[in-house]
Amino acid sequence: MPTHPSFRADRTEGTGAMNTPSAPSIYVARSLPAALDALNDCGSAGAPFAGGTWIMRSPIRHEAHQPQYVAIGKIAELTTIRIDADVVEIGAAVTHVALASALADLPEFNVLATAAGRSANPAIRAMATVGGNLSTSGFAAADCVPALLCLDAEVEISSRGDQERVGLERFLRIRPTLEPGRLLTRIIVPRRDRKTAHARLPLRKSGDYPAAIVSLAVSFDAAAGVQAARIAVGSVEPVARRWERLEAALVGRPLDPAQAAEVAAELANEFTGRDSVELPAWYRVSVLPSLVHRAAVAALGA
């Protein structure tokens, strides 16, 4: 057991059929310092618990629960969204529903509002958090990851007595080996004049994980040519990533959805799709040009 006094004790005996000798404990943190203290005390035995939509399904994946969880969903500063003139700051425990609602009137964030507002189903969106989406290494189909990649987001990582800010791309590289006691606390997104869109292909219209995701953000010069482009692909490979060659191909000319899809078809073989029970690897790659087309059409209409 951790030294933190507020942990719910493991029970080693009881009458309920669901009790196990090593049942995990849950500490409900009411402040960020308390959460960081608890995570620090737990060390490698502990993990943050945000929305719980991934952790609670551990038994289905035949994965053991962590011995101790620190629930962070009731920490006020982690459930706040701050919208300033030049930046949007999102607490890690903000739910998808809250994020979609907060960004609804900011067209430059269509990509993120769509990612948060269309993922999974309404009840999942009310529970799942943006920080959980970014921090869960095993979840390849997280909608917010490519959306935030194309928005050049940074994340704040906090631990007891320390805090650092890193780009999201770097965070995705280091997250599997993040030291115990460190917690993603904030997502920082710069505000820019840009058109954005999020195209996803679930197996059904809603409720499923997408086979593939294309998130797009483009800014235009005075002649309506693409000045800068950010395109991120999610769910195709185990970790979402930017499609830099396609980005470069779009710059310097008007955004033409058909042409963008043609280039995407030429470049799609740089992705190695992931195989899964529901879909073969090749299918995820093969739908990318169509999703690029959809994203470009949606961005132009934004």
Partner: protein
Amino acid sequence: MVQNLTVNGDRRSSAADPITPLVDVLREDFHLTGAKPVCREGFCGACMVLLDGAPILSCLVPAALAEDCEILTVEGLATDGGLTPIQSALEACDAVQCGMCFPGMVVTLTHLLTAKPGATRDDIRAALTGNICRCTGYERIVEAALIAVAAK
């Protein structure tokens, strides 16, 4: 450690482990079997209950995090033997089929009619995207919800 929960207005205690899904505590400890643990992934909606008035998937909520909340299950919707408007409409439309998904449907629609009294067909369909019916009986359920909306 005992979990103290407020379910359908009653204070209840459970000796289940803190991480135990709320749906299991409701069913195994409190014998409230309306919520069904069908997929345990949050995709089917059969375990839906109201937590402080909001529809939640009780298969994904640990019992420890439901403390200090008002839990309302499908068993707690009707009071004094009288059905709620959505329950009455569903009965009148003969919308109930095998019953596996149905408690979740009722809970979702109860919330929708409270949060959006003028809900449209599209609103109803959107609200039900997380409630899967394997009998493919959505249309009568949607019609019943529209009747309940119109009756308000």
